[in-house]
Symmetry: C2
Subunit: 156 residues, 2 copies
Amino acid sequence: MILILSLLYPTAVPTVTQHEPSELTDLLVRKGVRATRQRVEVLSELAREQHDATAQALWERLRRRGRNVGLATVYRTLALLSESGVVDALSHHGTETCYRLCAEGHHHHLLCSGCHRVIELDDCGLSDWVDAVSERHDFATVEHRVELVGLCPSCR
Amino acid sequence: MILILSLLYPTAVPTVTQHEPSELTDLLVRKGVRATRQRVEVLSELAREQHDATAQALWERLRRRGRNVGLATVYRTLALLSESGVVDALSHHGTETCYRLCAEGHHHHLLCSGCHRVIELDDCGLSDWVDAVSERHDFATVEHRVELVGLCPSCR
DNA sequence: TTTAGTGCAAAAGTTTTGCATGGTC
DNA sequence: GACCATGCAAAACTTTTGCACTAAA
C-alpha cells in the first residue's frame, strides 16, 4: 500500500499508514486512549478509506460489514480521536463533519472536488509567510489551516 | 468607523465597509439579486457584526430588534449571498456555519480564538506557493483557503 | 400579471445525552 | 470493585422543504 501511494504521489506519502489492527491498537495506546474493540474498528474502517468519511458513513459501512458499533460510539470515538490528534476533522461542505486518519504532526491537504480524495502534503513551507503576516497584524498565531481545492490527477 | 479600523489594523481594512442601507441595497443589486427588505436587513445585521455570526444568531438579533424576518428566509438569504460571493461562509467550529460580510475578491482570514473577531488579509501572497504545490502533485487547484488562528492584539 | 420571495410549520438530518448494562484494569 | 466505554432511545439542534400568501418587476 505504501508502495502504491509512493508511486502515485511521491511527495505525499502519509507518515502514518498503519492498516493492521495491531498497529492501530498501538497508535491508540500511544495516544493514551484505551484501545477497545469499537475504537479499533472505527479507526480500521477509517484507515481503509482513501477519501474522508462522515460519522454516519463509517457507521453504515461497519454495520454492513457485520461489525456492530453503535452510532453514538462512532461519534464519541471520532470526537475523542480528533482531540487526541489521531484523526483530522475536515468540515468543508457545510453541515456534516468529515474525518480522516492523518499523518501525525502539522500538514495540509489537497481536496479533490471530483472524487473527494484527500491528498496530504507532508511539507508545509508556509512558516515564513505565516510569521510575516502575523507580525504585520500583531497577531499571535498558534495555528494555521490550509486547504487547496481542485481536481486530482485522475479527475482532471 | 473606517478611521478606527484603520488605526487598529492599518493593513486589514475591509474594502467593503458599507453600513448604510442604501449601499447594502446597491451591493445586492450589483450582485444581481433582488434587494428585498428582508435581504437588506439580514445583510445590515451582518454588517454591524465585527465577528462572524450564525444564521440562528442573526435571526435572534433581528427579532430582538423588532425586524421580523423568518428563520427560513435568513437561511435562504445567507445561502444565496454566499453563492453570490457577498458573504463568506466560515465553517470552523464544526456543526454550525458562520457567515461574515466580506471584502470582495480573494482573501484570507485571521481568526481570534479569544474574541472570535475576524481580521481580513487584503493581500494573499500565496500564489507562488500554491502553484508550486499544485504542480508537484499534478493537481488542478481552483481554490485555496487559508485561516490563521490565534490571538488578536486586544486578546494577547 | 407574472415571477420570485416570504412565513410558517413540518420534516429531515446530524449530533448529543441519559441511563442501564457490559468490559477492562 | 471502581471506573470507563457502550448501546439504545430520546432529545436537542441546525438546516431544508412544501405550500399558501405577498411583494416586486
